[in-house]
Symmetry: C2
Subunit: 96 residues, 2 copies
């Protein structure tokens, strides 16, 4: 299992629309091979900042499988315009 | 429940010592009121970078309870010297 993580900085005053779009977009993840689960968290100190965590069986399930899929094209269209700046997405292995 | 999150940038060539110190320090968390669980993840793209997630019942269980405790003094002494720069620690509420 690997963990994909991104800090999403959402444009001012668009957090409500982002959360609504995310509630629909998250269904796209569940259709993909290797998807194990996800969480979206909203910042307490910075309410425009979100923590996105997605768990995949392998790194390639995200970087090749999901990003190369038709679902990713829909994900992009539904969500990417909310981010400013565009987030860095990184991956981790759980050790504890 | 709230989620404490920090990206820990560990000094070059000290990742082995950091992981060993963390394996002992994590026991300190479990003694504190409001502690619900934690995870430490190691970066795939950046092997000196770690993702720390700690779940608490309330924000104050972390910011007042843990940070005001004798266990935090031990935690600091065991771990803080590994970080460069010192991490920003932020909190989140889970929405999905």
């Amino acid at each position: 299992m690997i963990t994909e993580m991104a800090i999403l900085q959402v444009r001012q005053k668009q957090t409500g629309s982002f959360e609504e779009a995310f509630s629909r977009a998250q269904q796209l993840l569940k259709q993909r091979k290797g998807y194990l689960g996800h969480e979206l968290h909203k910042g307490i100190e910075y309410p425009d900042r979100y923590l996105l965590i997605i768990r995949w069986e392998t790194l390639e399930d995200h970087t090749e499988g999901f990003r190369g899929s038709p679902q990713y094209q829909q994900w992009k269209a539904m969500l990417h315009h909310f981010y400013e700046p565009f987030p860095e997405v990184v991956h981790f292995n759980k050790i504890y």
